[in-house]
Amino acid sequence: MAHQSKLVSLSEAVALHVPSGASILMGAAMEQMIPFSASHEIIRQNRRDLTLIGPISDVLFDQLIGAGCASRVHAAWVGNVSAGVAYNLRRAMEQGTPRPVEFTDYTNFTIALALHAAALGVPFLPTRSTLGSEVLARNPNLVEFRSPVSEETLVAVRALAPDVAVLHVQRADEYGNAHVWGGLGVAIDGARAAKKVIVVAEEIVAPEVIASDPNRTLIPGILVEAVVHDPWGAHPSPVQGCYGRDHKFFSEYHDRSRSTEDFDTWLKEFVSGVKDRAEYMAKLGDERRHALEVKEHAPTAPADFGY
């Protein structure tokens, strides 16, 4: 093939494609495949003034906010899915520390529609969701209108095209063609909506492996700017077929982000004090890693593309 390999290190991908001031989609697959290794590299490279876009992100947005990287959030929910509230978000919004954050509230569906509109190349998409809510009243990107083809009130969701989307996947080839499975959240619309896509893969495989199952190539490489090989990059979130969710890590993070001082200690231990994901996993330890590994593999039946 005449393609150029897009494989780069995570630090190169962030250095090249995630400048301060960028708008960035992360956590697109909801509670699984959250690109924590990429967000930690963004923190290490000291990015500022980011606009964070995503439906929920679990604690990823909380970490970026606590590290002072973000100025704006366009999301439906920022918290800790299994443990409760996001303390760094609260400090940023209630006290302005470490810096103030402006939160534009969406619902999950309206974030999905905003990305889908950008993916379709249209300025908005209509929905019935948020009618009568404060979310609609306060978000300037949600506008009530009268349907031109029926006697109904609807909401126009303005298209949202992130500067960059960071998408974690199970496997990709070096050209960015990616196979991804499990619940996908808004990842596929996100890949089409974003101006640039960084794919972070658990495994880099031969192009033939990806090409064998084009229906599973939900992120085509033509949309992808950079491919990063970073095993365990989504920990503590799960990756179907690769590793489970480290529930305890989320509970521990909850306790350790309760105060600024504790969060700073946590950040030093797991982010600024390690150079990359390999060092982070070493710190986590073999025993904990083994406990998260797949206990019983369940491969799918192959589809026949023959003719």
Partner: protein, 266 residues
């Protein structure tokens, strides 16, 4: 969720926890064959209980893009946990399941909230503590479910500062300011809140879209519920006691939550 300590202890004395009572009550809101928008936290467990005990043909829709007809084989902390994706009927994008919700085909959706009001409007966006504003996580899918499901069930702590005359922020619309409000807002006629399951009681809604006390949990008095409600809560003439979890329900709850992460936390 927090509740007055005495009621928690009284449930334990009866052989089950308050969390188990609430999960069983939530499970019973699911009817056999219905499509259910499951949501997060306790309802993850309630759906599994319903599937195994009384609603084997219920279908679970999860906003990460998963549809399940067979219950997940083990404990779930989140909807995207690997056991909830393996063996699923379908895995796709959020819009694939939200589309079915928006069509009006989902019978019941579960919600959580920090505040609820007289007309079932919910707030999960901004609260207050000691008179100061507190930022809460936000809607997630709650606002979508509240607008688009045929009926909704909310689970929450029952305290006077949480059950208020009017929520300070409508994250998830209920019946607005009363009868006909949803239709005027553009929402589907006949849709709206069905129940609020609290740590003390079950509230339901009359034709005017106002909440009333339908049942009190074992060991809780009507007076106690009224005292912990921030408006003058009306009481059903035939106010009942919320049925305790049955042995069959408890068996499933304990199978899927063996360490009490969801149902026996202090």
């Amino acid at each position: 969720m927090t509740a007055p300590a005495h009621s928690r202890e009284s449930h334990f004395a009866r052989g089950y926890s308050l969390g188990e009572l609430m999960v069983a009550a939530a499970a019973r809101e699911i009817r056999n064959g219905e499509w259910v928008f499951v949501g997060m936290r306790l309802p993850l467990l309630a759906f599994l209980v319903a599937k195994r005990v009384h609603a084997p043909r219920a279908v679970g829709l999860y906003e990460n893009g998963v549809i399940r007809e067979d219950p997940a084989p083990e404990m779930l902390f989140t909807m995207a946990d690997p056991p909830n994706q393996r063996g699923a009927t379908f895995c796709g994008q959020m819009a694939d399941v939200m589309s079915l919700l928006q069509q009006g085909r989902v019978a019941v959706g579960f919600l959580g909230a920090a505040e609820a009001d007289r007309h079932g409007n919910l707030n999960s966006t901004c609260g207050s503590r000691d008179g100061r504003a507190v930022r809460l996580p936000g809607s997630g899918g709650a606002g979508d479910i509240a607008c688009l499901a045929q009926r909704t069930v909310a689970l929450m702590a029952h305290q006077p500062h949480r059950l208020v005359e009017r929520v300070r922020y409508v994250t998830s619309p209920g019946y607005g300011d009363g009868a006909d409000w949803r239709r005027r807002a553009g929402l589907r006629a006949g849709s709206g809140p069905s129940a609020i399951l609290t740590t003390l009681a079950v509230l339901r809604f009359d034709d005017a879209g106002e909440a009333y006390l339908a049942s009190v949990h074992p060991g809780v008095t009507v007076e106690e519920v009224k005292r912990n409600t921030g408006w003058n809560l009306r009481v059903a003439a035939d106010v009942a006691e919320t049925p305790a979890p049955t042995p069959a329900e408890l068996a499933v709850i304990r199978e899927f939550d063996p360490n009490g992460f969801w149902t026996r936390q202090p």
